[in-house]
């Protein structure tokens, strides 16, 4: 703890200010988006945004947890994976859904129930993991919680495999993939619109929560100086638990969306998509909420571009390349490491 506060204080202040006014990364993102639109064409562009939205939702959890306790929570990808299975359970076992819902009312009902239950269950799962696996190690050397996180990752994977087996399982696509709408002459799936709008709303909600509310301020001050925050009356344990609750609930939402969009899920999802979401968080500047969101969309573009040009097998490698290049040349990511600093 002491060491982290020392580094926080040692950070030159002018650096923070200079970074803040930099519009370079944003222009880069804008240019990239435009280029991607023309390279991929409208259909694949929307596909990339949809996949990117899922990565972004998962990346937020990595970045929030890192921002507040400087832990790379390797189990987070598997929390997302568990979310997709909880969603499957809610849809099939509780709601009895087998495929596309017959009418709009049913769609809304099933989605509301599935999101609410899955996000709650997965949020509580995240809090439980923090409470029993990470909190006892909070003052231990940093390697200890890291190894524990990897252990939790294996446990979650194996538990899901035990129940559902190792092969992919079909999930009900409540919003029919055939339901499409024409926007400016381009046919776009309602499912894509739903996912992109949901994800962006959640991200804006999170950003507002962190920047405007009292709990959000407590989170930012805990991230910046834990000891000083506790002197202000902030219950550090509670604040860290809330961070895990929110990050995990967002991963739960991503898990729901994963099943809805792809129509199948597997227990290996945490490893596959989790690593990409982690890369998104690093690319955006781990600890930075806006950065993680944008990083998620960028990874979506990279993956869809690779697949689009017949290099799907290379997509994974490309993402790893991005991870390595970022870590080597710009370890603070495109937007720097600040929890909720930017709106």
């Amino acid at each position: 703890m002491t060491s982290s506060t020392v580094t926080a204080e040692a950070r030159p202040n002018r650096f923070l200010v200079a970074r803040r006014s930099g519009v370079g990364p944003y222009l880069f993102i804008l240019a990239l988006t435009v280029v991607m639109y023309f390279v991929l064409g409208p259909k694949q562009f929307v596909n990339a945004l949809t996949i990117g939205a899922i990565y972004a939702l998962v990346a937020l959890g990595y970045t929030m947890v890192y921002g507040i306790i400087e832990l790379i929570n390797f189990a987070h990808g598997d929390v997302f994976m568990v979310g997709s299975f909880v969603s499957l359970f809610v849809l099939t076992n509780i709601l009895g859904a087998t495929g596309p819902a017959p009418d709009l009312a049913t769609i809304v009902y099933q989605l509301v129930v599935t999101f609410a239950l899955t996000m709650s269950v997965v949020g509580v799962l995240g809090v439980t993991i923090e409470r029993f696996a990470y909190r006892p190690l909070r003052n231990a050397p940093r390697l200890a919680p890291l190894i524990t996180a990897i252990g939790i990752s294996f446990i979650l994977q194996n538990v899901v495999q035990l129940i559902y087996g190792p092969s992919p399982i079909n999930t009900p696509q409540v919003i029919p993939p055939s339901a499409r709408v024409d926007i400016a002459g381009v046919s776009i799936g309602w499912i894509n619109i739903f996912i992109i709008v949901t994800a962006i709303s959640l991200m804006f909600g999170l950003q507002l929560f962190v920047s405007r509310t009292k709990v959000g301020r407590a989170m930012r001050s805990t991230a910046s100086d834990r000891e000083a925050a506790s002197l202000m009356g902030v219950d550090i344990n509670r604040t860290i638990a809330i961070t895990f609750l929110i990050g995990s609930a967002l991963a739960g939402a991503a898990g729901v969306v994963q099943g809805l969009y792809f129509g199948n899920i597997t227990s290996a999802l945490g490893f596959q998509s989790g690593l990409k979401a982690f890369t998104a968080a690093v690319l955006g500047g781990i600890g930075n909420i806006t950065g993680a969101a944008i990083g998620g969309f960028m990874i979506g573009f990279v993956e869809v571009t690779a697949a689009n040009f017949g290099f799907f097998v290379w997509a994974q490698a490309a993402v790893f390349m991005i991870l390595i290049v970022t870590l080597v040349f710009r370890p603070s990511g495109l937007f720097g490491q600040q929890l909720g600093e930017r709106a």
């Binding site: 506060t5 926080a8 204080e9 950070r11 202040n13 923070l16 200010v17 009292k214 301020r217 407590a218 930012r220 001050s221 910046s224 100086d225 000891e227 000083a228 925050a229 506790s230 002197l231 202000m232 009356g233 902030v234 219950d235 550090i236 600040q338 600093e341």
Partner: protein, 244 residues
């Protein structure tokens, strides 16, 4: 000035406090007391245990043996975030401003335990004490000068209107003019009724504002007396006031 000031009962009492950092025995039996309305100072050279004493009082550390009593209640095991509510505020060594939060947000954090109505009123109060902070209210804490940061640290600690204010080296790294200003403000805060426990390496200034003082050395109290008596003590003059 001392005429109008009311010194009351003991609010803070340390009984044979022993605090460790792992195996390091930092406080080796500190016994001390602070009465309501007093300014008490802890002086001693680097590493004597002054900061550790304040941290043990505010609940950032807990004593392995001995006890800390606040208003007659044993608070040795109470955590820092609860003690703030009870009325102990701690402006820690090194200021510890939230550098990425604005000045206003830092003050709002100081009032974290308060109702939003009280926060607004107390921010007014802090701005009266430190007009400079009002000018800077939208600026990030990390962009303030050392003196402004110290004002913010004290202002932030005052946001709860504490009964006891713990100040750890408020003059460290400040210019002589700013040091005068800070000590003036310490007097003013005390005159408004706040009990103060002041840690300083700047012993002459500290003994000048304080009613009583404790001299610490390697985790023990080696001397305690009225501030004036300490300031006149030959050993103190030699060791801490830089006189031969």
């Amino acid at each position: 000035m001392t005429a109008e000031r009311m010194i009351g009962d003991v609010v803070l009492e340390l009984r044979d406090v022993q605090t460790y950092y792992g195996k390091i025995h930092a406080l080796q039996g500190i016994t001390a007391e602070v009465r309501a309305g007093e300014i008490v100072t802890l002086i001693g050279s680097n590493g004597a245990g002054k900061t550790t004493t304040l941290k043990t009082i505010s609940g950032l550390l807990h004593p392995r043996s001995g006890s800390v009593h606040f208003e007659g209640r044993d608070v040795s095991r109470t955590s820092a975030h609860r003690l703030v509510r009870d009325g102990i505020s701690h402006a820690p060594e090194g200021r510890r401003i939230f550098s990425r939060l604005t000045v206003l947000e830092n003050l709002q954090m100081g009032g974290y335990t308060q109702s939003s109505k009280d926060v607004a009123a107390n921010i007014e109060h802090v701005f009266e004490l430190f007009p400079r902070l009002q000018e800077r209210s939208g600026q990030k804490g990390g962009t303030l000068s050392g003196g402004e940061q110290q004002m913010l640290a004290i202002g932030r600690a005052l946001m709860t209107r504490p009964k006891v204010l713990l100040l750890d080296e408020p003059s460290l790294g400040l210019s002589p003019i700013l040091i005068q200003q800070i000590f003036g403000i310490i007097r003013e805060i005390n005159a408004q009724g706040t009990t103060i426990l002041l840690v300083e390496q700047n012993a002459s200034q500290a003994l000048d504002v304080a009613d009583r003082g404790y001299v610490l050395q390697t985790g023990r109290v080696i001397l305690s007396d009225d501030a004036k008596v300490l300031a006149a003590n030959d050993d103190v003059r030699r060791a801490y006031l830089g006189e031969i």
